[in-house]
Amino acid sequence: MPEPHDKDLVKRCLKGDQKAFEMLLDRYQKPVYNVALRMVNNIDDAADLTQTVFIKAYEKLNSYNDRYKFYSWLYRIAVNTSLNFVEKNKRQDLLGDRDVLQGSDVEDELESLERVEKLEEAILELPPEYRIVIVLRHFHDLSYNEMGTILDIPEKTVKSRLFAARQLLKGLLLKSGLME
């Protein structure tokens, strides 16, 4: 049986169908959480933001215009909520404890974790408006057009920000020694 389309699930949600909302939640909880996590770099804050996003989405479901893709609309809520949080708090916390590893691959795994940590720190050093385009393009594989819709900016601005963000990130990675 084919999966129901987002728009059909939204219609069912509006009629009070909780199962339909749960399906949307299961579909988009992880990507929304990862948008928030990449922006705030704190597991608890990202979880709180994800909760806020879905509550807002449910409350505003009546205003969703089905001319647009549901996930673009949801991502926009997620991006705005995350950016507002970053603006208010302007803090960067390290991620929580990593899992303890066993076996002969420990050293390789630790090196890999260190590289990922440096990369995540570099991403966090980007100004929020550059960080979000990196997150949406590289971690969520969104097109320039989709990013423009979500961020409510022209595609031309998406491109110039993304290009500038990549160059900036390149500089940060070179400085951190992650790239030589």
Binding site: P31, L168, M179
Partner: protein, 256 residues
């Protein structure tokens, strides 16, 4: 490096170049070792990002979200209220016809007022920016890091730099008898261009490209350029004023 090649490089990374554009880029990279290195570094940056995996949300989150929402039907009842009736009116074909006629007339009126109105004053040409246009920020509460006054025949002005919470501001105030060109050159690895705020009535164009902000066609300029620091920026910003294609002033602006 030309901006169009930077765009081609980024599109290549995103897999958006046509075969012809890819060949064009490759020819350029083969002829310029510095550009090739630049592109290789960009590719490595993009590749590094591929190594980051999506993280699973905490296991409690799903139930947490569902428990915090009160699920109630929100669709309209079979008999619409006054809002529903208003909505139905707006959706009617005859209303839309009248609305279209009214909107068309309004558009014609506005276009006449803007373009053909003989009483309108000359409008100042708006600037073209590849960054973002911002309000003219208030820097009066910030300490000046550096201040350079420039003066010569027909030119009088000043450059000032300020620093605050990871942002560098460059204030330009200039009067000149002839149109001049003002360039600001920054190290794009240390400073990221943010915005240009211009005082109302300031004329001329602004273009932003790789670490370079260029004001052209100005004889009276009051602008503030905002940059964001990457880490701890140290290299000064170079400013130049050109008149008739020749450098008439060259300034070095400290940022710390």
């Amino acid at each position: 490096m030309e901006e169009r090649y930077i765009e081609l490089m980024n599109k290549e990374i995103d897999g958006l170049n046509t075969p012809s554009e890819s060949r064009n880029l490759q020819t350029y990279l083969n002829s310029d070792s510095e550009a090739k290195k630049f592109f290789d570094d960009l590719q490595r940056t993009a590749k590094a990002l591929q190594g980051v995996e999506e993280k699973e949300p905490p296991s409690y989150l799903r139930n947490h979200i569902l428990n915090s929402i009160k699920f109630t039907p929100t669709t309209r009842a079979s008999q619409p209220g006054w809002i529903g009736q208003l909505a139905e009116t707006f959706q009617s074909r005859s209303f839309r016809r009248y609305a279209l006629v009214f909107a068309s007339g309004l558009c014609v009126g506005i276009l006449f007022f803007v373009f053909a109105n003989p009483w309108r004053k000359e409008l100042t040409d708006t600037t073209k920016l590849s960054g973002s246009m911002a309000l003219f920020p208030d820097l009066s509460h910030l300490q000046v890091v550096d201040s350079v006054h420039v003066e010569s025949e027909g030119i009088d002005g000043a450059f000032k730099t300020y620093r605050n919470e990871g942002r560098i501001f460059v204030e330009i105030a200039l009067q000149s008898a002839e149109n001049v060109r003002i360039e600001l050159n920054s190290d794009s690895a240390e400073l990221v261009f943010g915005s240009v705020g211009r005082l109302a009535g300031t004329e001329g164009d602004v273009n932003v490209t790789q670490g370079k902000i260029i004001f052209t066609g100005v004889n009276s300029d009051r602008s503030i350029v905002t940059f964001s620091e990457v880490g701890f920026a140290q290299r000064p910003i170079e400013g130049r004023i050109y008149e008739g294609g020749l450098i008439v002033h060259s300034v070095t602006l400290r940022i710390k």
